[in-house]
């Protein structure tokens, strides 16, 4: 399976990655070869094999429903570029 230029542009857009025009042919080639490897893996007979959600042979640990994280706003907002009235400020977004 091979990707074309528009696939790469779309993947980059979904991941919000800005890519250089000149790098697109390289990305296209690299990603296509990854897909080729996946094609090859698809050949393996997996009939009767349970899909794997996690490689660890363990189950999810559960937490009691008790507050352990009090207000730490001041400390946590110290690393934010812009805050006002307790809110994080980000470039304007409106759907």
């Amino acid at each position: 399976m091979s990707l074309d230029r528009s696939d790469v542009e779309r993947i980059a857009h979904l991941a919000r990655l800005q890519i250089d025009e000149q790098d697109i042919p390289t990305y296209t080639e690299n990603l296509s070869s990854i897909l080729n490897l996946i094609d090859q893996m698809q050949q393996a007979d997996t009939a009767g094999v349970e899909p794997l959600a996690n490689p660890l042979d363990a189950v999810q640990r559960l937490r009691a429903d008790v507050v352990t994280e009090p207000d730490q706003r001041e400390k946590l907002q110290r690393v934010a570029p812009a805050v006002e009235e307790g809110l994080f400020l980000v470039p304007k977004v409106i759907e």
Partner: protein, 484 residues
């Protein structure tokens, strides 16, 4: 052409856990912005989610209440998209292996249509934060207190055939989750939010029409209105030779119209994959059965019992059982006064009226079930009439006190002494010569209606305290004596 409407609902229910689904931050409503958003909720590097056992327990309760298979193994996945109120860049949710499998609920509309609505599944996921677009110097403000609040998303099959059925279904889900105590059910605060998938097809056609999705509707009334509006739009469009485009639409209650938000063509590709930070959740039969043993009496069962035990009408039993605090209150009133029908009339009538007018939940009603029960006892033993009882009830609502205290203090005790009533009746008859003449002149079968005037005069003279039954008897007897 005759059209058939096809509706499926996705209902998001906020679980009333104390903490977030994957962190130990509080979920209390109304806190100052970002004071309940910890490092996990902010997706700071190096943090890991740990699943809240109470969220799991509540999801299982819901599954059992809707006759569903419970997933003994469920898996969290990442749904990837970018928005500032979703700091991780993905929502942790479930897809292929949800906690609740196929189930069903039975619904009934006001006009008597009953239907079984199948649930496709219900899954656990986390809520996002909130974006505030007021002007912060051209920026948006982000509050992440809600980020990570546990949700159960309940996905129905497209089994509903009218907006009324959709609203009845949403009400049923609301009744179930509030009865289970897994959600506070406050739709105005967003504790339950509804997306409606709506399509139309020519009657008799099997193939589904193209659907649109109406997002984030937060009242039962708006569910009906939004669907009716959207159905009319789709039918007009098709009959004018157009075609419906699959898209997300927003309902505007002020203008009563739906408008396009984004079409699925440029919708996100969410690229789901199993979350590597969370392991599969495994539960066994003993866990599920222990939860089943704790389930309260569910709305359908309670309604059936109300009909059986209290001889209530289907409608009354349905209304009273639909909200657990109201059903509990009702049963306490019955316990106090032993008259199920009278209690139903008052809880659904005078009490509901004042609760609505004052926008008050029955859980914090100023008149307790014991107070109301005490009042109804005084109607039953003829201490006061139903009309005076309304007056006592209003005083009880605003000033507190027991019925006996209020009746005593206000001198509202009903006059049943026939001697006293006779005296007043004589006075009324003596002062109404004209009406008495008319009464005598009237055809005997029309006289019954004319009693109303005299009745009113007697009630006026006694401040409404005369026993209506006794007054009618005495009036009739005295007037008819004048006729012969």
């Amino acid at each position: 052409m005759e059209w058939e409407v096809v509706i499926g609902l996705e209902i998001h229910v906020q679980l009333s856990t104390t903490t977030k689904i994957f962190s130990g931050a509080s979920t209390a409503f109304g806190a100052a912005p970002n004071t309940q958003a910890c490092a996990v909720d902010l997706a700071l590097p190096g943090t890991l989610p740990v699943f809240n056992e109470n969220a799991l327990r509540m999801a299982v309760m819901f599954g059992l209440a809707v006759n569903a298979e419970i997933g003994k193994r469920s898996v969290f996945e990442r749904k990837n998209y970018f928005y500032p109120d979703l700091p991780k860049g993905y929502q942790t949710t479930q897809l292929a292996e949800p906690i609740v499998g196929p189930g069903f609920v039975d619904i009934e509309t006001d006009d008597g249509v009953s239907r079984r609505v199948r649930l496709h599944h219900a899954h656990l996921e986390e809520d996002a934060g909130k974006s505030l677009h007021e002007d912060f110097h051209g920026m948006s403000g982000i509050d992440l207190n809600r980020a990570g609040t546990p949700l159960v998303e309940i996905v129905s099959e497209p089994d509903m055939r009218s907006s009324k059925e959709a609203a009845a279904y949403a009400r049923k889900i609301h009744a179930i989750v509030t009865t289970l105590g897994i959600c506070d059910g406050n739709m105005a605060e967003g504790s339950m939010r509804c997306d409606c998938n709506v399509s139309v097809r020519p009657k008799g056609e099997e193939k589904l029409g193209t659907r649109t999705e109406l997002k984030n509707i937060n009242s039962f009334r708006f569910i009906e209105r939004a669907i009716d509006t959207e159905v009319a739009r789709q039918i007009d469009l098709i009959e004018d030779g157009g075609r419906v485009v699959q898209e997300t639409r927003l309902y505007d209650p002020d203008k009563n119209e739906t408008r396009s938000m984004r079409s699925k063509e440029d919708a996100n590709d969410y690229r789901y994959f199993p979350c590597p930070d969370l392991l599969p959740v495994i539960i066994d039969d003993s866990y599920i059965e222990a939860i089943r043993a704790t389930l309260p009496e569910l709305p359908d069962a309670r309604k059936a019992r109300f009909i059986e035990q209290y001889a209530l009408s289907d409608y009354d039993a349905g209304v009273l059982s639909s909200y657990r605090p109201q059903a509990d209150y009702y049963e306490q009133v019955v316990g106090a006064c032993q008259d199920a029908k009278l209690a139903a009339n008052w809880v659904m009538g005078e009490l509901a009226k004042l609760l609505n007018q004052n926008d008050t939940d029955i859980k914090v009603s100023p008149v307790s079930a014991e107070q109301l029960g005490g009042l109804l006892l005084r109607i039953q033993d003829n201490t006061i009439s139903g009309n005076i009882a309304k007056k006592v009830f209003e005083l009880m609502w605003s000033n507190g006190g027991t019925a006996d205290q209020i009746i005593e203090a206000e001198g509202l005790k009903q006059v049943t002494d026939s001697g006293a009533i006779e005296k007043i009746v004589d006075e009324v008859i003596a002062n109404a010569t004209k009406q008495v003449e008319q009464y005598i002149a009237a055809e005997p079968e029309k006289r019954g209606k004319m009693l109303g005037f005299f009745m009113g005069q007697v009630m006026k003279a006694t401040g409404g305290k005369a026993n209506p039954g006794a007054v009618t008897g005495i009036l009739k007897q005295k007037l008819d004596a004048l006729c012969s």
